[in-house]
Amino acid sequence: MARTLTLIEAVNEALLQEMERDERVFLLGEDIGGSGGVFKATAGLLDKFGQDRVLDTPLAEGAIIAVAIGSSLVGWRPVAEIQFADFITPAMDQIIQQASKLRYRSAGGFSCHLTIRVCCGGGGGSGLYHSQENAMWFAHEPGLKVVMPSTAYDAKGLLLSAIRDPDPVIFFEHKRLYRTAKGEVPEGDYTVPIGPAAVRREGRDLTILTYGSLTQPSIDAAGQLAQKGVEAEVVEIRTLAPIDKETILNSVRKTSKVLIVHEDKRTMGFGAELAAIVSEEAFEDLDGPIVRVTGPDVPAIPFAPPLDKAWNVDTGAIVATAEKLAAY
């Protein structure tokens, strides 16, 4: 049976069901217990499972990841929360030098079976320190897996995969989607595999590669483009690492044109890797430049409404750029 859930409800349900199914799973982070999380992703779980399995930690992101890593070595399946992606920087040493490399440096003798949930992205008025994405740093680090769902269905299915995955998975939840992304979600257990991208709309004229908060605007843009006679294929990169090259390249081979859309800053944003893959592996199929529609090269999204809005990549911008590219 499926019901309509928001993305945050889907996250909450995945956590709840996996904690019921697997006693080794426990949660830790700031404000995940007593308050149920800043956005209520963990609401109700403390009451249901108690402090032993829903742990409010000291204000120390490094310690949160440290405890997740170490406890996984003795058989636990920790799901750590970093309250905002902006606050993942104090845990970089633990994530990069410990979690991503422990399996490798011990040739498989030790490994980190853990999940790090991170709330990320702009939410309209979140400001410089509650709107960062910061996902691309981790996509550069083999040993990690990086996931960002845009639908409620994927949120549940990918989170269940992440918790069961024997490697460290960083699971990004875009705050703008928490309550705006709604959809059918099965009640029971299912997984969406980590890896495969999703073709959200088929089309023959150009491929839009996107992820996270700009998935739906890209789909919307494709709808508007169709009315103008342009059939855009929308591919959502649900897993940023490892990347599903096959789905990307298959689409590009069909459409011959690529538009990359993301909210994060442009230079060295995740779109750069997508462009690099396509320009290396599907060059012969390309009939136009690989165009990026992204956030600007500005440190983070500023607070004042006109500035926040000026950052925003919206459907209009996608449509306009796609039209030009289609006509190229």
Partner: protein, 339 residues
């Protein structure tokens, strides 16, 4: 030199005796100004006059006022998310403080930072990031730079109980201890970090004990007793100016409202909140001054109406100020891109 051990100053402050009425009234005025400004900021938020969030420090005024009252213009303040009023205490015009909440082009940062995350460069109040304890980093560095100049200015860094769990706190205070920096670390221990209670944050009873790891004094005071805070802070400032190094000053206090204006704070009991409200730092001090006749009812009314008038003008200024233009988005990323 072995470190001086921390001392817990839990006894009451000596009170109003032997202090000039100017000092006492100055502190009173500032306490009141912070209180009314903060409550006004909350109302404006609830009225939807600005978005984002606001982190009220109502209930904690004695900590910030006591610690920062009497600082010189060339001293520095390194505030956090709950220290918007430290700009007021340092002397920033109210109109800029409210323009900051409204994220207007007339605010010191032209609307870039979230409300309450305010700095004021002309008076050396460092624009804070949200990143907890970051101000301890920057503030400690400033203190190092000041000492290197041979100046006798000091830095007052504000932070909460939660911030003391961060690695940043440790690295900053350890460095300050090694180099005896002119820095005053003021911890407003309000017993909660968002929804996380103190017992899940630390195994300590007194956070001033953290100073024992750094070889400089740690002092715990009643953070709702403005004179107790002021005395301890002034002693620390004197030490710092004399080159004797930093002090960690723990002020035990409480925030009356939620972590922010969108936090119903259901994790706290009513009794706890009500108990602390009875220890209102403003009411207690006001009563002292009235009792000693340093303040009269008439004066009190006048001060309040002066402040209210100033706030109203400031809010008007903020409301009438324009937003920054969208075209400013990429200004001030690098020096070349200055506006």
């Amino acid at each position: 030199m072995p470190p001086k051990s921390s001392r817990a100053v839990t006894d009451k402050s000596p009170g109003t005796t032997a202090r000039s009425p100017e000092l006492l009234l100055g502190i009173y005025r500032l306490l009141l100004k912070c209180r009314i400004s903060d409550e006004k900021a909350r109302i404006l938020f609830r009225q939807g006059k600005y978005g984002g969030n606001f982190y009220s420090a109502v209930g904690q005024e004695a900590t910030n006022v006591g610690a920062a009252y009497g600082l010189r213009d060339d001293d520095w303040i390194a505030p956090s998310h709950r220290d918007w009023t430290s700009n007021i205490i340092k002397g920033a015009p109210l109109k800029f403080c409210f323009a900051q909440l409204f994220a207007k082009a007339t605010s010191p940062d032209r609307g870039r930072s979230s409300p309450a995350h305010m700095g004021y460069p002309p008076l050396n109040v460092i624009t804070p990031a949200s990143s907890i304890a970051g101000q301890l980093s920057v503030g400690t560095g400033v203190a190092f730079g000041l000492k290197k100049h041979g100046r006798d200015s000091v830095v007052v860094a504000f932070f909460g109980d939660g911030a003391t769990s961060t690695g940043t706190f440790h690295e900053a205070l350890n460095f300050a201890g090694v180099h005896k920096l002119p820095c005053l670390y003021v911890c407003a221990n309000n017993r909660w970090a968002e929804s996380v209670p103190l017992r899940l944050q630390t195994a300590l009873e007194n956070l001033s004990d953290r100073a024992k790891a750094y070889g400089f004094p740690g002092v715990t005071v009643d953070g709702n007793d403005v004179l107790a805070v002021h005395d301890a802070a002034q002693a620390a400032v004197t030490r710092a100016r004399a080159g004797e190094g930093p002090t960690l000053l723990e002020c035990k206090t409480y925030r009356w409202y939620g972590h922010s204006e969108i936090d119903p704070a259901k994790y706290r009991t009513k009794e706890e909140v009500e108990g602390w409200k009875k220890k209102c730092p403003l009411a207690a001090f006001e009563k002292q001054l009235l009792d000693k006749k340093i303040l009269t009812e008439a004066q009190k009314g006048q001060i309040a109406s002066e402040i209210t008038a100033e706030i109203n003008a400031a809010v008007e200024f903020a409301e009438e100020s324009p937003y920054p233009d969208a075209s400013e988005l990429a200004d001030h990323v690098w020096a070349e891109r200055g506006a």
